[in-house]
Point group: D3
Chain length 251, copies 6
């Protein structure tokens, strides 16, 4: 199968890293391509960032119809997730939801460890949207921005293990979810340090995409994720125009 992993931000180094992680997680028969959109912020750390990234992420999905068997949205805010499901007929998986679902199979309670404190309200909403409040022991933040993760990897590792340890010792977490796609490469190292499962959403999403595809199940078009209504768009990416006028193509 072919999975398109989309890094919704526009930092090539991070896209490369996500690609590496996704490939490592993929099964032999799975092809991974990883892209970043044509526009948007260099990193995603807030609501305005997400609005911009969502727009361009949707463009990527709409513009690649028919080429992939599944999409992975590799930002731990799951931007544009529901919208991408509308414009596609194959599964679209967000890395945050992916990590929630996988964690539920190995831990009664888990914590997210992420970047800047300002992402905490966004993550709380995401946990609530997925109904995971009772299984989320805590959301802990480091003071790092997304792009600082790579600047001093030893500092990042130290901070991540410190917060992960506190999540386990003080908050009741039994597993740690890495709250940013850029943290993915730390998963196995942290797992060893903490003696508890550490889950990267990119890897989880790849496995879930394989699972859905292998089982032959895709996005329901009954209600929440129906194709968009046919309508005129003004000054929007041409990829979307194609999607919205789809019925015209039938004439």
């Amino acid at each position: 199968m072919r999975i398109l992993v989309i890094n919704p931000n526009t930092t090539q180094a991070m896209t490369d890293e996500i690609h590496h992680v996704a490939k490592a997680a993929a099964s032999p028969g799975t092809e991974i391509e990883t892209v970043q959109p044509k526009g948007g912020p260099r990193s995603i750390e807030g609501n305005a960032d997400e609005v911009l990234a969502a727009y361009h992420t949707l463009d990527v999905v709409a513009g690649s119809k028919g080429k992939y068997d599944a999409y992975v949205i590799a930002c731990y805010g799951d931007p544009a997730l529901a919208a991408c499901r509308e414009v596609s007929s194959v599964p679209v998986i967000g890395i945050a939801e992916a990590s929630f679902h996988m964690a539920g199979l190995v831990a009664y309670k888990w914590s997210i460890v992420s970047v800047l404190p300002r992402v905490k309200p966004l993550l709380e909403e995401l946990v609530a949207r997925n109904g995971m409040e009772k299984h989320c022991a805590s959301i802990r933040c480091t003071p790092l921005t997304v792009l600082e993760i790579e600047e001093d990897i030893e500092r990042t590792k130290r901070m991540m293990v410190d917060e992960g340890r506190k999540a386990i010792d003080e908050d009741g977490a039994e597993a740690i979810l890495l709250g940013c796609a850029g943290l993915g490469p730390l998963d196995k190292w942290m797992q060893q340090q903490l003696g508890a499962p550490v889950l990267d959403g990119v890897a989880c999403a790849v496995k879930l995409a394989e699972g859905l595809h292998g089982y032959g199940v895709t996005t329901s078009k009954v209600a929440a994720y129906k194709d968009p209504e046919r309508k005129e768009l003004v000054a929007c990416p041409v990829s979307l125009a194609g999607v919205y006028q789809r019925e015209a193509a039938h004439v």
Copy 2:
């Protein structure tokens, strides 16, 4: 005070109508301007529509900094609400949340009556995000698209009153919230038909904007709605670039 009401879709007739409703609700000292973004879908009835509209709505807010005392986002999905709060220092109010808050003052339980059934999951999420599950008796939909509201206004009125009546008689609603900015003009007529409060979000948002401004309270910049982090944007509206590089301007 000056309020900018933004119709996030790109249908001028609807923008005009929203302007009329907002002006009617405004107090004597309140100036209302109403605009629609430069781009986006003609109507908003799903998640992809919202992603596109959110992008352009954010552009409107970012591009008008310093000119208004408050913003109203006049689409009953509250698109880009959190993001607009980040890029502005004055209150930004969504019409759905506005109607929830006002309804809570006059009814123990209320129902939303809206357009196409496909918006129901979006509205459920909005109700949940605002913590209003226990006060929301039901979400009822007509088969109308947003742009069909105006096509046959007698049909629209009939359908709206029918669903509103059922919400009261069968679901336990004590007030009706109009689940689309385009339904605003029906509020007083429906209120008379139903013998129960009927709330239009645009009117509610104007009154709440006046209230916040009158009391001298604006968006908290402590966490969820902090200004965006300074960062580079790729291929984004120039208005946003200004916002994101704001510190540079101080140099």
Copy 3:
């Protein structure tokens, strides 16, 4: 419009102060009258206090029918709120609920800072009744009784800012709600100290009353707040007798 602000306790100095705050918040065209009931406790800090205050507050509302366009119940326990809505046809607003609704427009999470620890369970119930659990970061108490607020205003200010600061730094609050009508005068000063919105319920309620009145919406009489059933009362305030026998007047 004319708003009757009711201080449900029987301390004249506090009634005067509430009047001052309410007047300051009112728009030019709004007349504010402020009263306290004929009976009840000098301050309200528990359930028994509330039962006594509720009885006399209801008497005030029932005894002033037709004279006001809205009522504000100026005690942060919202005593007799639902009952007053039953005996009146104009909006009745509690200051706790008012602060919840206004805070939701400017902050994702807020905290209440109040008096004696014993009020905490009452405030928790109030938060739950309004469905605000997910937006309430914490309820913090000072050791002050209601009447001690004024005794040493510098001490009060110090304690309030300390708890407000902790709510922001430790609990994730982005705005502070003043959990007692007597704390209202501190709002702007605290807002400046904390760099975050500080909301006084009296001011919020006045603005919401203006909003409802301006928009022409009042209490629903469909279910929860229906007029009382006609029935005989024994040894109750004469004002209520009038309300309960209202149908007789039609004969």
Copy 4:
């Protein structure tokens, strides 16, 4: 032990009936006295009724300190419950909460069948306050007022069994709670008709009062139900004045 059962309304016939039911439920060593307050409405069917009844009920409890081992508040709205716990040192039990707790031991889900539809929002709040939402299958109402229950007992029985049957067949209820003290005498008859447990709150409360007393546990004075703060009362029942000035008595 001695239990004072308080019928919070002022209809002697109903007080007599409650007495009969409570006595039938009491164990051999339990003395039951049943009273109604000096004032208040003839029946309790709404929020204003409750405010009036609460005031007079509190007077009964405050005025009988030291004479009883437990109190039962025999109105299915549990009026003044928390307040009475403050002014007493022995257990005070509401009949609604009593029925919830007992029902939880014999059924996974139960329904309340009560009087007029207007009580439904009050009962919903009561269910929520006690955390029983997941176990409450439904709240069903007959069109009867409280005082009509006795007017035509055959009609009442027919309506109650009809609604109880629907609760079981349509809503998933496995037990029925009688949502008004006046319905108590129907419990065993309905239980036989429905083939499912039918619980009267008065009987449940008597058994729970016996249980608490037998086990030697009474109301916690740590926080929510602390004795009232010492303070001056204006124009309140003399019984309360005694309670509030209690420390003075120690001088």
Copy 5:
């Protein structure tokens, strides 16, 4: 009446102690028998322990049909509770649920103090199953195993009072629930130390069993606790075979 108290673990000393506590709580007319099952773990401190204990506990109930008026399951995980209700026609009460229901009558919030930290997730689920999240202030654990409770009773008392005190001072608890049947004998001593109600589930369950029996109410057979479907069992206790083939007996 006759109550069979079942200690689901297989430690005779603990069975004896539970018997002593249950007898002390019983009313004059109540006969208490206490047994332990033929098999299962010596103590119950986790999910596997519970599965084993549940099996043998069910055997005890199924094998004693017709001999008792109620059963008490004396392990604070309420093992096999729903299953035992299916195979019996008399009330079956778990000691955890019993303590929740009784505590709700004397405290707004309570905490559980229990054994090893590993039981915390089990207790959280139990609290949630009973809808008690809002009334549960905290679950606190000592480092003690079940069988260590008795090893050094002074150490146990010290640890229990320490955690109980913290629950009151830091978590907002107003009453303490003893989270293990083996802790029962400490109830009155701890109550005196803490100045707050301390509830042992065994005592609570005995009083509730007496209450249900006295009122003539037993387990509903409408849905959740219906008798098992008639079916063949393989290699199961002979007591169950009798229950499952019950219809055959009617032939």
Copy 6:
């Protein structure tokens, strides 16, 4: 990898069918073995059934340590799930939770369609335990027992499609979860009939087991699923005795 699928009931025909379904879902490199326990009921349709099946299922897992890379518990009540996680070091997946997690990736709301109405309360608890209340549109039952599914497969198909259709049309479901392992073979046929995703838990669990194994994540041993405490067992399966005395083996 090697997965042991356990049919917790003792009907060989059903074990065979589950094996067929699991094999069909497995990836090329996955070996599937399917067993049923030595004892327990012929089918699982209630709480007593579950207690018996749980005991024997635990025996299977404890008795096969070191032989498999993952376990699937193929009964839609997830019996013994937490217990099996304690006694194993590899992932253990229940088919109900598996279907919840997979469904969340393709539908906003889903419904379960299952056997006899008596399983509804069990399934409600399972949905709640997994935090899925907001995504579960409804639980619908047919009148079929587990063993009747196969008796008249055309009747079963008709009933399942009827209930699935109602779940979509009346309850807002966008996907259907098959609420019994015996219904698995219907998944693709029903999916075609309904035009919406239909998920069989056995297939979902196999894919999730592959995903966890492929990603190298297994059950956390930090708290909820720690190995059992070392202790003596009385009259329990010898397999468990081995697990419980594990430390002794280290000597």
